[in-house]
């Protein structure tokens, strides 16, 4: 009787609380819940009407990772409109050379042109900086909530792993990078732009300060990439042995086109590809999707701005308006820093998730 009672109680407990399964289900639900609100909105408002984690995984399995591009991309007409306006002002500035004979009046007209260029650029720049800061904040908050859940999930599914110990280190570096990017690099590049504007109008009084600030930004970015080099020390575990032609070409393009952190990105490309191949399914994949949806629109917008500004630099090269050119160059520098920061943090986060996976015992 006593044995039967004990077996009955055990059965009730086992059927009521299936520990492993419960942890896994809870892990999945929790991960979807902690995704930033804008990501959830983007997913639910997309053509796919995604309402849960399983929907995301189904779409990725059916249509591939590039289906995310359709979800993440939006309207990017503003950069081109602004660049067209800048080119127009450069043309007006160029025609001033012919219309006005007096050098003093010409100089005043050029300064007015430069001021208008500056006003037109400053507003989108402000919005861009706000988007990048929001993106970094959201990704930081997401990682803050995601990594502990992920580590718990790994421990539940692979008991006895060392992932928990490693998670705290990765977690610390990930948050540190977000903090440095958000609180130091972005404001510093904004200040550099503001100083460049003032300096352009007032015969370069801040030139030394600006070049110092630029060096500081590059130095801090170097530090951030060095931090993640520690994470890429697991490269040998993740990277596939073969280095295909496609990967080599990709590495070359990234190395030569991505500003400041291009070398770093090119170096860790194998690791990133390896990471993505490890995370074909499950919570890790969802984290990657969230990060892509967070970072892709911002990065795409920044790249479009970069292309537009390069175009503007090329077209207005003959305008002989040094003040306007300096302001456009300063804007280009800020965009470069923002691209570098965004790509650096994005890759760092992917590597963080992958590192925890590898140390959590996933092969």
């Amino acid at each position: 009787m006593k044995k039967l009672f004990l077996i009955g109680i055990s059965l009730i407990i086992l059927t009521t609380y299936p520990l492993n399964c419960y942890a896994v289900e809870d892990g999945f639900d929790s991960v979807y819940d902690i995704a930033p609100d804008n990501v959830k909105d983007t997913l639910s408002e997309s053509d796919y009407k995604i309402e849960g984690l399983q929907d995301v995984i189904d779409i990725i399995s059916n249509e591939g990772i590039f289906s995310l591009f359709k979800i993440a991309f939006s309207d990017y007409s503003l950069p081109f409109k602004t660049v067209t306006t800048l080119i127009l002002i450069s043309t007006i500035s160029c025609s001033l050379q012919l219309l006005i004979n007096k050098s003093e009046t010409k100089k005043i007209a050029q300064i007015i042109c430069a001021l208008v260029i500056c006003i037109i650029i400053a507003e989108p720049l402000k919005n861009l900086i706000i988007s990048v800061t929001d993106c970094l904040n959201s990704s930081g908050v997401f990682m803050f909530s995601f990594l502990p859940i992920f580590a718990t999930f790994l421990v539940t599914t692979n008991p006895g792993t060392s992932s928990v110990a490693y998670t705290s280190t990765i977690y610390f570096f990930s948050e540190l990078t977000v903090f440095i990017s958000r609180s130091v690099l972005t404001p510093l590049s904004t200040c550099t732009f503001a100083m460049s504007v003032v300096s352009s109008i007032s015969d370069g009084i801040f030139n030394n300060l600006i070049s110092g600030a630029k060096k500081l930004i590059i130095w801090i970015l170097g530090l951030v990439t060095s931090i993640f080099t520690a994470i890429t020390s697991i490269q040998s575990m993740i990277t596939s042995a073969t280095d295909t032609v496609a990967v080599k070409t990709g590495k070359f393009i990234v190395g030569s086109s991505v500003p400041v952190v291009g070398g770093y990105v090119s170096e860790v490309m194998n690791t990133v590809i390896g990471s993505l191949s490890i995370m074909r399914s499950g919570i890790g994949l969802f984290a990657i999707i969230v990060l892509i949806i967070l970072f892709l629109p911002v990065t795409a917008e920044l790249l479009i701005w970069k292309i537009g500004i390069k175009l503007c630099q090329v077209i207005s090269f003959g305008a002989e308006n040094d003040i306007g050119q300096n302001i456009i160059n300063a804007f280009n520098d800020v965009i470069t820093v923002l691209i570098s920061v965004t790509i650096c943090v994005f890759i760092g986060m992917i590597l963080s998730i992958c590192a925890i996976l590898v140390f959590g015992g996933v092969k």
């Binding site: 409109k81 001033l96 219309l99 006005i100 007015i112 006003i119 503001a194």
Partner: protein, 129 residues
């Protein structure tokens, strides 16, 4: 008025001015001033048309139409002052030409004040981000 009319009228006025100058230099200057006013009126009509089109084309960008108008206004002022100052210098009134230059700069400063104010506001906003 097309460019050929402008060229023909200019040549006629120049020849007339040379003839009048021999007998009565004051009337010659008057003729040139009247000619310049007519030409500026013609030119400004084209410039207003251009301003309208440019402002229309940058309609989607914040502050652009507003400040482009100021920019074009400043350019018109620069051209007009340049022309009038040259006429004054040619007629031997150097001091009037200098006066025109100074007044032009003051007007330009006052005209660009909204741009500078907005710029300071935007830069302050950038520092506060």
């Amino acid at each position: 008025m097309n460019i050929f009319s402008v060229i023909i009228v200019s040549i006629i006025v120049s020849v007339l001015a040379i003839f009048i100058k021999q007998n009565n230099p004051a009337y010659s200057v008057l003729l040139i001033i009247i000619f310049v006013i007519i030409m500026i009126t013609v030119g400004i009509n084209y410039l207003f048309d251009l301003t309208g089109r440019i402002t229309e084309s940058v309609g989607g960008i914040k502050y652009a139409p507003e400040f482009l108008k100021i920019l074009l206004k400043a350019i018109i002022i620069c051209i007009l002052s340049d022309l009038s100052s040259t006429i004054c210098k040619d007629s031997g009134n150097g001091s009037v030409a200098v006066c025109i230059d100074v007044v032009t700069r003051i007007i330009l400063l006052s005209l660009t004040l909204p741009i500078v104010e907005k710029l300071v506001e935007v830069i302050q906003g950038l520092f506060n981000l």
